[in-house]
Amino acid sequence: MADDDISGSMWGDAPRKTIVDVPVAANPFAEDDIFARPDPPAEQSTYAPFDEPLSGEFGDMNIIGKEENDDEEEEAVAIPQKPVQGTSHLISELAGEEVGITMNTPSGSLFGDKNPLLSADEDTDDTARAPVKKVARGVASMYKARGRNRREPKPLANTNPLGPLGPETDTTAEENSTNISAAELLTAAADGPLFHIKKPEPEAPAEPIVQEIQSAPKAIEAEAPVALEISVGDPVKIGELTSAHIVYTITSKSALLSDGTAKVTRRYKDFRWIYHQLQNNHPGFIVPPPPSKQAVGRFNEEFVESRRMALETMLQKIARNAMFQKDPDLLMFLASENFGPDAKARELATGSAASTIDEEDDEGSSSSSGFMNSFSKTLGLSTGPKYVEEDEWFVEKRTYIELLEINLGNIYKNLELVVQQRTELATMTAEFLTMMDELAALDASGDIFQESSISLLMGFGSTQSKLKDLVARSLLQDMLTLGSTIDEYLRIVGSVKHCFSQRVRLKTALLTQEAELTKLQKLAAKTNVTISTTANNVAQKLKLALVKEQITKQESKTQGLEKKFKQITVDIKNQLGQFETNKINDFRNAVETFLESNIELQKESIELWETFYERHHLSEIK
């Protein structure tokens, strides 16, 4: 190894650049920011400001990100670097002054303020600054978000503790009163965000936000979840041959529980039950899923441990969600001494049929279900109007999620292969080591080989076996970190898809309902015509009254469905936003752990070999 290689010249310019632009890249996804993000109601005016800065930021970030990726190519760097350097002082300037200003405005809602400010900037500024300005704006806006999070979280909390998240009921009420069709709303919402950047409309976004702030803060998201500590442990095998299963002890501690603490035993099936129950209770919410089923080797120690871990992660993630943690089913699940009947009762009460869903769902979620899925799809097509996705947002997300599933599945398969091969390699090495030992032990009398050679062979063997242990440990680590994260996300993706299908199902129902409504309305119109034309129309009038009654009934039903549909759309969007944040966080953590554990492995193995080299004076051997 050449020495200058090790000296790490690769860090030569990379880190500096990272320091400059990485906070920029990282910022908009900071968790606080996401949590504070408003529920985007499906209305253009409120929607636009939310998405606008985002797209602006990311647009610039993309440029920067790309630039860094090919930092070997100097030419590519040369051009974008200028604006970055140019903005570096601008950043501080903007962060210091402009942010300060925005912070002090009492109406400081999250996103609304940015737009007027920037557009004003744009309007007033002369064209001379134009080339720098664009980047500066992107950077500055990001910095603003960060500055807000970091420096002045309190004023924000004081003026508007829940952020602009409140408006849900308000807006939905508004929507109810207005008779805009859902489709129109959706298209407006989908088209809105991306293209409004250039339009200087300082007034438009401010209005609804002010309304939102005034409206009653009944936001779910903003409510900080109560501390709910859950641990799953102590797996015990119970039952006879046929009914044998593992029972886990769940210990939970929270103010939400009547006793403060609870300790119950649950089996795997029960975890599935609570999963489906929660899915049913909160449509549009991504419920952290339990680990997948496994028929063979259920009592294998490693498997039980990994399952226990996955179950614990699931419960902890559920518990972190303010919505889920108040769910009566969950509390019952955590505390009930008499789970079986209670579960039945709850199931009846909520009409979820969680225990029966289970099997079907498994069929559906397993990879072999391509046929089943397509079958049910065609069935859906035959029974009702097919819903074609109108919301671009959903189209994008859906393709992304599907791609994610495929890719993650691929990675997981490959990881498993790697692990399997490494395990095989370890056994081979073990065999090799016994042979090495044999070789070293051949000269029992010690008069043929020199002492040093024998100890060399012995040392070689022991170094190898130590290394083998190390590798085995790191393998386990890899599987526990990266492997389990990927596995978990594969399952979460399943949940996400479930949410999508819930929404589609609602939409289909809505469409059917609307079709029926229009049919009735047509009938009413026809009857009206007959009433006007015919003389004897008592029967017809009666019929009209009947139809009208039906229409109002259907209308209210449709409205209910529409409301539900809007709600689920909002919820899913909301949830997916959180999903994206969590995804970034979890994967980053997993990859970092994976990386660090591998770095440690390499260090340790270097150390082992170096020690071996030194101890046996290998430097004297050519």
Binding site: D5, A14, N62, I64, N69, F460, R588, N589, E610
Partner: protein, 533 residues
């Protein structure tokens, strides 16, 4: 001399006028097969042996007098111990190797000869010998010199990918082998060496008749099944089973290394696939609408994919090096051990011949005694019997000398060949270790390179900053843990790479020649000093 009944000519009435001839008749027919007879000048064979001195350890049955005195050994192995004869020396140096044929490269050799009769010149330049010729020569030497362990010619094809590494290794191994062979005083006095060096074109074996020296083929197989004859040289008696198990273990190790190498390759492919599987993730992330695409994630997945692929490549390279260092070395050790084992078998066969000769001496002796005790003596029969006895005695005597010579030489060579094996193993382990360290270091560097990118995915800086909000956003994570000054995680002062680097620096300073003989057979033997006589 080790007959059960010592022969004393005085026991018999020598009234045969023809009987005197026997002493001077060396029974050439039998000796033609004997390298001892062919190679050693007469004076060594015909040295009168002081019988009473040796007869002290007569054991009933077929035995060989165990201990050879120093004096006798000196007489028996003049190549090693004679003041003048031991000065003979062949120095050989590989000047070039033509690798155009991978399986059968052509080696150009320069010879320098000292104190060796029978050569026309003192130095021979640019002697071109094919690899196959070397193999033939080795085979010949092995058969013709029963007392010598001639190691196998190292393979011309290594586990390294074709290229410089392979060529260096082949060159080093061949030079090493030539040095070992020419370092052996017995072998260099072989007539065939003259042919090997002087032949104008590629060498072929000239003295082909030596093949008959010991049993071959089915006979050899059958004889090997028998219990080995009693061996009073404990060192050699223990040596054969030892070498046999070395051979077996080394063969097993070779196979295992091959299996591991195959699996390593698969593993590296799997690792590369694993890395490649991250690429679509990056693409999917990058391909999203700009509003939702996260550049940090894109960068992370790209870097992870790249690094894993790079590490897979490193692993692949390392597995080749592993195979080439340990695997090939085990193969060479195994074939050397096999040759040593066969040489020891040859010795057993010669010992068996000796036992047969002893038997025939004994039977002719009894016949002579019988005739002597008869009342009527037929002078013709007496003549015949005495002739037969003399004949048998002579064979026995020569065989005894041969066994002694073989045993003495083998005891010396045992140390040499084992030292060679040991050196090979040690250097194999060393280069293996170095390769391992190098790969680990490179892998570590690769991994550390992307550390910053992963921590920088979002502004919180990853797990490394857990609970330390006041630290600057990032900075220290970029520091590589390995540098010229040492490793940040340990206070080790000397590292393997530094040692290797210093060594290569030294080599560059004096570009005199690529390290010549890695090991001198004689000095190694002296170092071992394990001869017990």
């Amino acid at each position: 001399m080790t007959s059960a009944v010592p022969y004393n000519p005085d026991d018999f009435d020598v009234n045969n006028p023809l009987g005197d001839d026997f002493d001077n008749n060396p029974l050439g027919a039998d000796f033609s097969n004997n390298p001892l007879g062919a190679d050693t000048p007469d004076d060594t064979v015909d040295v009168p042996i002081d019988e009473p001195a040796e007869a002290s350890t007569i054991i009933p049955g077929h035995t060989i007098t165990a201990i050879v005195s120093d004096e006798e050994l000196h007489r028996l192995l003049p190549e090693r111990f004679h003041a003048q004869k031991s000065q003979a020396k062949i120095t050989v140096k590989i000047s070039t190797i033509d690798f155009s044929k991978r399986e059968n490269p052509i080696v150009t050799l320069d010879f320098t000869l000292e104190h060796l009769p029978g050569y026309r010149k003192a130095a021979y330049k640019d002697v071109r010998r094919s690899y196959a010729a070397l193999g033939k020569f080795q085979k010949y030497l092995e058969i013709a010199n029963l007392e010598v362990f001639v190691p196998s010619v190292p393979p011309a094809v290594t586990s390294y990918p074709t290229g410089e590494q392979e060529q260096t290794k082949v060159r080093r191994d061949l030079q090493n082998w030539l040095d070992y062979v020419t370092g052996n005083p017995v072998v260099i006095r072989d007539d065939e060496f003259v042919h090997f060096i002087e032949s104008d074109f590629d060498y072929t074996v000239i003295n082909a008749h030596h093949k008959a020296a010991v049993a071959t083929g089915l006979k050899r197989k059958t004889l090997k099944q028998l219990q080995p004859p009693y061996d009073s040289f404990t060192e050699l008696a223990e040596f054969r089973p030892f070498v046999k198990s070395v051979y077996q273990t080394a063969t097993k190790l070779t196979k295992q290394m091959e299996r591991i190498g195959r699996l390593d390759r698969l593993h590296s492919v799997a690792l590369a696939d694993f890395g490649a599987a991250f690429q679509p993730l990056a693409e999917a992330e990058a391909g999203r609408a700009r509003a939702v695409s996260h550049p940090g994630m894109v960068r992370m997945w790209q870097k992870v994919a790249k690094t894993l692929a790079a590490n897979a490549d490193l692993l692949l390279a390392q597995s080749a090096v592993e195979l080439a260092t340990l695997g090939d070395e085990f193969r060479i050790v195994a074939s050397d051990a096999y040759i040593v084992k066969e040489c020891l078998t040859n010795r057993h066969l010669v010992m068996r011949e000796l036992i047969q000769a002893q038997d025939s001496t004994k039977s002719s002796h009894t016949r002579v005694v019988k005739i002597k005790n008869r009342s009527v003596i037929d002078p013709l029969k007496v003549d015949e019997a005495i002739k037969a006895l003399e004949f048998a005695t002579q064979i026995e005597k020569n065989l005894t000398l041969q066994v002694k010579r073989i045993s003495g030489e083998m005891i010396i060579e045992r140390g040499e060949i084992m030292a060679r094996m040991e050196t090979r193993l040690n250097s194999a382990v060393t280069s293996y270790t170095l390769a391992k360290i190098e790969t680990a270091r490179k892998t570590l560097r690769n991994l550390e390179q992307i550390r910053g990118d992963i921590r920088a995915v979002d502004e919180r800086g990853g797990l490394s900053r857990l609970g330390r909000d006041h630290l600057p956003a990032r900075g220290e994570c970029g520091a590589a843990s390995q540098s010229n000054k040492g490793d940040s995680w340990s206070n080790r002062t000397t590292r393997a790479i530094d040692v290797v680097k210093n060594r290569s620096d030294e080599q560059e300073m004096e570009p005199e020649e690529p390290q010549g003989p890695a090991f001198d057979a004689r000095s190694a033997a002296a170092l071992l000093g394990s001869c017990t006589f």
